[in-house]
Amino acid sequence: MTEKKFQGIPASDGIAIGPVFCYIPAQLTIPVCAAGTVEEEMMRFSAAREQARLELQGLYKAIETRAGREEASIFEAHQEMLYDPALAAKVQELVEIGQTAEGALVKSTEELAGLLSGMGDELFAARALDVKDVGRRVLRILLGLPDTALSAVTEPSVIVAEDLTPSDTASLDPALTLGFITAQGGLTSHSAILARTLGLPAIVGMGEGLLGNISNVTMVVMDGRSGEMIVEPGPETVAGYQELKLQRESHLQILKAAAGVEACTANGRRVEVAANVGEAASARDALEYGAEGIGLLRTEFLYLEDVQAPSEEKQFRIYREIFEVMCGHPVIVRTLDIGGDKPPSYLPFPAEMNPFLGWRAIRISLEEPALFKTQLRAILRAATGHQVRIMFPMVSDLDELRRAREIVETVQRDLERECIQFAANVPVGIMVETPAAALLVDVLAEASDFFSLGTNDLTQYTMAVDRGNAKVSGLFQPLHPAVLRLIKQTIEAGHSKGKWVGMCGELAGMTKAIPILLGLGLDEFSMNPRAIPEAKALIGKLTDDRAREIAHQAMAFGTALEIENFMKRSLESL
């Protein structure tokens, strides 16, 4: 096979050169054939079940070493289901009336999973998925097919897949992953965000033909900055990319060395450059890259890892750990921001047509005051002695904000009455991520101590586009003039009320956007830690006058493409 080049959407910077691991969840079809004797079929079932047990034990051990016992416990539960006497009895019953082991297994697991999913409770529905998963594993073994799960990657590889779900990536070993390439997805899909967090290159949206083009490929070169994938590269191509990789890495080392320098414009105005953080470990990363604070601490990870909501103590411990790591730097904690797209099992999520327009974020917190109060108590307690701010996600109305603040005050009174130590003067603000909030900043300022722009959601809601849908994700343009006007309006209205306005969306870390945002007067840029060194260097090159001029010119264009081209030219001339 000769060298061939393909173009996708660049999703995470970096170059990877290596073998390909094609992740294809196998289509398991039951062959139509006559069953053997009852003994033969039951023997095949027992043998496959034993093989499945060995696989699950291996997975348990691998995940236990990589992520700890709690993460691994799911595979222990799978082993219990595998040897469930009800499953064995059902299979036996069906084999006795002439079914093959495969047919009996599929019917039995479907029936048992149906019992669980029919209970009308999220908690049990999740177990139904486990039963199906176990059934699928045994069936795959009966059919003699190999385990293609991502945990089967044995040498460092570039992972190529149609799409990657959160559960797929859970079984992924970062040490064996050189990068991701997916057919589906956009810049903010799960695998893209994960890749950026891990510092791995990623290309998404390669299109439907991807897996066909790569099925027999042994070697691939990918550039997560340009979005290029080269299959079966020749020796010259490989050497060229190895050179480029070294160049970029040494460039980043220089930037990182400069990370200790405070961010300020060429004319000496201080600007805050902070990090978006999703767990305790990345707070350390953030400091290493030169973050001057955390502009967005996501707390969802606490809520999605268990079958029950995290206790006050658990949250308190984790928040305190993060505040201590940041030693004195400001941290903005965003309260629970989840919805029907990734529902935790313990909340009564309705079936929703449009989970992104549905019951999520602050809307959940206001309706589940016990859950909300537990989180607020943990934050306020852990904030003692630290610079902490609380931020509510997805506010679209003043009444929502007033009600949320009332709950904060109630929690403060409770803690006072119980003589529990907490930080009394924690500023409370909101994310501006709905067009409604952006248009109402002057009104919301009555009850909000600060504002932080969330550009991913703001773009999604302004452009009315599902960013995970490859067919329309081209319209997901954070530099669209409509989005920029809302950003401008938010900063101006916030400042006119004497409020601080930051940004914690992806846009804040994009070099093509930073000059515009600086020119519009943004007070804080919060981004993926890895984007910080370059952002600081860029800010240092710009005077406020030059940035204002760029912003003024950019705002005059009619399309995102025109703005992007203009910004490309502007950055080159710096």
């Binding site: 019992l115 669980l116 029950q308």
Partner: protein, 91 residues
């Protein structure tokens, strides 16, 4: 045959870890053991089957009836009762 009616006080009911412990305990005995959700008045299911025990949907403060039949029926029932009464080891 030995029989007992017991209230489950654990906050998640007979689900997740409590359900797993219940089934693991039942599986240690040779007697045939059945359990049903008295509060929901459902059918008896095999107490050694994690899937069937989950289908009972036993929530916090609901009552279960446990029946054991066989050589070690008394000790099986005692073990299951003390597990539930001790709130599955969570106080």
């Amino acid at each position: 045959m030995a029989e007992a009616t017991i209230q489950v006080r654990h906050k998640v009911g007979l689900h997740a870890r409590p359900a797993a412990l219940f089934v693991q305990t039942a599986a240690k005995y040779s007697s045939k053991i059945r359990v049903k959700n008295l509060t929901a008045n459902g059918n008896f299911v095999d107490a050694k089957s994690i899937i069937m025990v989950l289908t009972l949907g036993v929530m916090k403060d609901q009552e279960v009836v446990i029946q054991a039949e066989g050589a070690d029926e008394e000790s099986a029932l005692r073990a299951l009762r003390s597990l539930i009464d001790a709130n599955f080891g969570e106080g």
